[in-house]
Subunit: 132 residues, 6 copies
């Protein structure tokens, strides 16, 4: 049972965050403070929540982008923009979610969200400016 | 052009919020303070932003549910749960988005979000408890 | 010195909040928990900060309306809408500040702010709907 | 293993929330949406996190009161004021934490926190006004 | 009509943000994602909202400083401190608004606001320390 | 009386923040804007609030860590992690408070809080990774 959960955690983490530089904020950091707790948190969030199948992974990640934009959590937003791309969201869809957040969270969080999106896309070598 | 925008505003508002009681917080209230400004705001948000087609209406509304849950905006969340149902999101998908928000916004906003969801579904006559 | 501060506190409180029902959230409540601390807080906020003269009282209160709207602090917003009226802000100026907050805090806080403004103006017998 | 976690969850929940009316926002509500997920969330938060022993339960609950006050989460704050009393925090300590939160979260969240504290203490039959 | 709105947008932007380095977060960035949407957002916020005349521009900008301070939106705060200076607010008035925000948003947002104000004034060559 | 308060302010500041680099955000900055107001704020927060004895200094500082983590105020959090260590909280207790905040404020604020804790402990020469 526990092995099954570990495997689901590993696979889901791989699916969402493969190739993403977590910049010292991820699982490795948590482990530096408390190894057992780090494992429990990771298995709950990634293994139990993120592996659910009521929403598609793309749907879930666009909702993560929405939430992290209005909360202005720049580093986690960067990670989930990568995850959204990893599970098939287009650059246009990601930008659109961020633009729409000005309705709920105001213009400043939209602006910061776009900056983060540009940076994440640059990290992936996918940044292309829109032509008129 | 302006007529076209007015029509798009009207149609999008109808699509999203048909049959929804806005409980004195919506367009009618804004007009009680300033009729011209109310029209401009409505045409921008509903006519220009909500009518865009990069995201499906269902996708956009689930992102709205995500953002409004983590921001703990209960009344607007209620409206957009109605809108999400109006454009085809299932009850399970809406609940799933709210549950997932505990990752980004913490447990209290998830709990309040579920309360709002239950109320909105009751208003629609769609509330059914899950069997074991 | 202490007497001078007490007097300034009393006069400033009178200027801003005369005739306002604080609905069990004000100074009387704080005193029910700790009389000495309640006095210190009141003398600092009302006596030292609110009595300053770099900004006009009207300017200060409109800034309070702005901050409390974007933070969605409904009860304190109600009190400061009364205070803004007490020191000479017009109904139109107060509504305008709240409308503008959609830029910084998003539409939901603007909507809640307008509801609070309507209620506060009704409490004062000053609510008048705008004609077209 | 799973049985052990269930038992720890049950005991910790009993320790913290015995006799507390969760007002339709707690575990019972979550189960109405999704029974399996409700169990996983409860076992993670209550069974794994709240049962840890690095902090005393009193220490943990006063920190919960601090966080929920500055976030202005009134219903969850009510629950954790009950929990704080259940694990030995005094009324004075709880009020003191709330008062101190004006430094980090501003006066409005302090005021709302005190209102919630008064209500929770009244629910417990423990409300006593301070004499001068 | 559309031309009139474009002209009002251009003039208002010039009035508020002339000489201000928007540090890659402004209109140019939005256009890199979506040119048409960037134009619509700019015309709504700058052309329709910021050009209104119920409040003086100075009054509006001091309210923007208030809101952006309590929300801790540092980059947008920097821009609106420049705008406030551009429309006639004094350095003392801007600092006073930020100081007062400790009442509504707590001390940390006041401290960060003062840092931003110092930086913005330095950018303008207007930074002068107060003598005792 | 005023001398007594000044002395209490000085002693409490020394107790909490001795040896801490406030990185241009502290009392010195406030004085650059307004010397008299800086003194009043400092005497109220440090002299009157932080010197109270209902809570132990360790308890108060752990509550400060809790509040500043969920509010995501990184610079003030850094200062109060130093203060918590200065008054006797262990590294494990501080990390535990931050970990627990994922319940109330979500995972992103926990992650940022841990980063700040690592940095503060490094500044003190007290950073030690946990062994398995």
């Amino acid at each position: 049972m526990d092995e099954e959960l570990k495997e689901k955690t590993r696979k889901t983490a791989e699916l969402l965050f493969r190739g993403v530089d977590t910049a010292e904020g991820g699982y490795a950091l948590w482990r530096q403070f408390d190894k057992e707790l780090a494992k429990q948190i990771s298995m709950f969030f990634t293994g139990q929540l993120y592996s659910r199948e009521v929403l598609s992974q793309k749907q879930r990640e666009l909702c993560a982008v929405a939430a992290l934009t209005v909360l202005n959590r720049e580093e986690e937003l960067r990670l989930h923009i990568h995850a959204a791309r990893n599970v098939g969201a287009t650059r246009e869809e990601i930008a659109e979610v961020i633009f729409q957040m000005l309705v709920y969270g105001g213009a400043p969080v939209m602006v910061e969200g776009l900056k983060v999106a540009k940076r994440a896309l640059e990290e992936r070598g996918e940044w292309v400016e829109k032509k008129a």
